[in-house]
Amino acid sequence: MDLILQGIIKAFHLIVSFDPEVISITWLSLKISGTATLISLFVGVSVGVAVALNDFFGKRLVISIINTGMGLPPVVVGLFVTIMIWRSGPFGFLEILYTPYAMIIAQAVIATPIVMGISLAAIQNLPPNLRLQILSLGASRLQMVWVLVKESRLPLLAAVMAGFGGVISEIGASIMVGGNIKGYTRVLTTATVMETGKGNFDLAIALAIILLLLAFTINFLLTQIQQRQQSR
């Protein structure tokens, strides 16, 4: 019991005193997962919309693959990305293994199918005649797509939340491709694992609380936007 209490008190202290190491780890987590989410938003929405709006042979297979991708195990992604950027791998020349870039790539690979699957479903859920209605009002194809994306902004926000929530709390891929290098690739999840392993429960608890707060804050903000849109 004492251990937990001690841990929480120390954690609280670390947070309110703006401990430089805690701050830098948090900031790095935000940067990496934020960038990965942005990339996944861009790729996921484009591909999701393209698949939703076009009829082609094998469309169902593609949708099944995307949906499977929504539950991609991070360690599998970690393994795959590691192989690709391994010194002798196809992208080894980039020399980005154990850098934040590798982590961004791995996290983007995890988040993209989530965003893609949700935006695909969102566009498919719009009334089938809406596309024709928009075209008949004189829209170019690009204008039509833009109106449809705007029209599904609520589920798209949910996609961002799901994507970001997925990658900020992910550990497997981050530790495999990032390596948990202090001050370089150490993020909240990898640091928590390490500190727990070392028995530094106070620091581990502090990091865990920050991780929770971070996830909560981001989701709270997005929920605010979503609900305001909803009630408008």
Partner: protein, 361 residues
């Protein structure tokens, strides 16, 4: 009427999967006129409408817009920009009413002032200025319908295509919206194609009618032609067995109107304004004939008519009479025999003012 059509189609074939859902030899829509597409559900009315608007791919066929064949993609865009479709469901976007109405104008990259002007004008057409700032999804069914109509009219299309636009509205709302639409079509002279399945709506709104069945157009002509000479049972049922007489309200007082029909005055209940063009609908079973002009009779309308034709039906005779306008009457076989009616006889024809169903034109 020998002008060239605004929009026409030749040999249109549209398939869904392997099934041919549309096979139209010829259709012409003339400038300033309203064409009604009528026919049972699944006859291909919506498909034809969307194909004419350039929204559905066709297997073969030609569409001409302003005498120019729509062949290239830019022709198609041109057609789409000049044709506005209003769907059965309102399909409003999740934004305010004025933004919804402005959508089509924004696609055209017009200036803010131009957009504002056109939006205000379109809202005024349908009497919904007060809804401008409301969120579209808070609207009632009738309000949504008005917004979707305003949105289509806002882009000032050359032709407007309405797909069963009045379905799922309660009768008073429906009536009010049809009134507005009728006024706007008359005022703006915009060419219109309407998929309808109500005879009264067709009579009120359409100059021309194309009857569809199983993806084909089986009869086409002016509303009067199609209604007077239905070519098959479906159309006969659709238009009803009624006699339809076109006229103009000459006097309207205390719920009783005098309608001038081919130089005769028919009295009917109703309170339309003087000068209103109307159709008087009469059911043959509501018409009484007698050898002499009846005296002290409650029926407000008594005419002399010549029997053009007496046709025996299963249980009654159908008389076609010329009273200066042609009407039909059903009389029982005993009455027919007792009155000893022959073709060429002159009879007194009477019907009540309440038996006349008056429809605005």
């Amino acid at each position: 009427m020998k002008q060239s059509p605004l929009l026409s189609a030749e040999n249109l074939v549209v398939k869904r999967g392997k099934v041919t859902v549309l096979n139209v030899d010829e259709l012409k829509v003339f400038t300033g006129r309203t064409l009604a597409l009528i026919g049972p559900n699944g006859a291909g009315k919506s498909t034809l409408l969307l194909t004419l608007a350039g929204l559905l791919p066709m297997v073969s066929g030609k569409i001409y817009f302003q005498s120019r064949q729509v062949s290239s993609f830019s022709d198609l865009v041109m057609l789409r920009r000049n044709a506005a479709v209003v769907f059965q469901e309102p399909l409003l976007l999740n934004m305010s009413v004025e933004k919804n109405v402005a959508v089509g104008l924004k696609f055209r990259n017009l200036s803010r002032a131009q957009i504002k002007n056109s939006v205000d004008e379109a809202l005024a057409y349908f009497g919904i200025e007060q809804l401008a700032k409301r969120a579209a999804k808070t609207l009632s069914g009738g309000e949504s319908k008005r917004v979707s109509l305003a949105r289509a009219f806002a882009i000032k299309p050359k032709i407007i295509l309405l797909d069963e636009a009045f379905n799922s509205l309660d009768p008073p709302t429906r009536e009010a919206i049809i009134d507005d639409l009728q006024n706007i079509l008359q005022k703006t002279k915009i060419t219109a194609v309407l998929a309808l399945h109500d005879r009264e709506e067709t009579l009120r709104l359409a100059h021309d009618v194309a009857v569809m069945s199983e993806g084909k157009i089986i009869q086409q002509g002016t509303t009067a032609q199609v209604f007077h000479q239905p070519i098959n049972e479906y159309i006969a049922n659709f238009v009803g067995t009624e006699v339809i007489l076109e006229g103009v309200v000459k006097k309207s007082e205390a719920g009783l109107m005098e309608v001038a029909v081919s130089g005769h005055i028919i009295e009917a209940v109703g309170d339309f304004k003087t000068g209103q063009k109307v159709c008087c609908c009469l059911r043959p079973e509501n018409i009484t004939v007698s050898k002499t002009v009846p005296e002290k009779i409650s029926a407000r309308n008594v005419f002399k008519g010549k029997v053009l034709k007496a046709a025996r039906q299963a249980y009654f005779y159908k008389l076609t009479l010329d009273c200066g306008f042609v009407i039909s009457a059903y009389i029982t076989i005993p009455s027919f025999d007792e009155l000893n009616i022959c073709e060429g006889d002159t009879l007194a024809v009477s019907f009540k003012a309440t038996a006349v169903h008056v429809i605005k034109r």
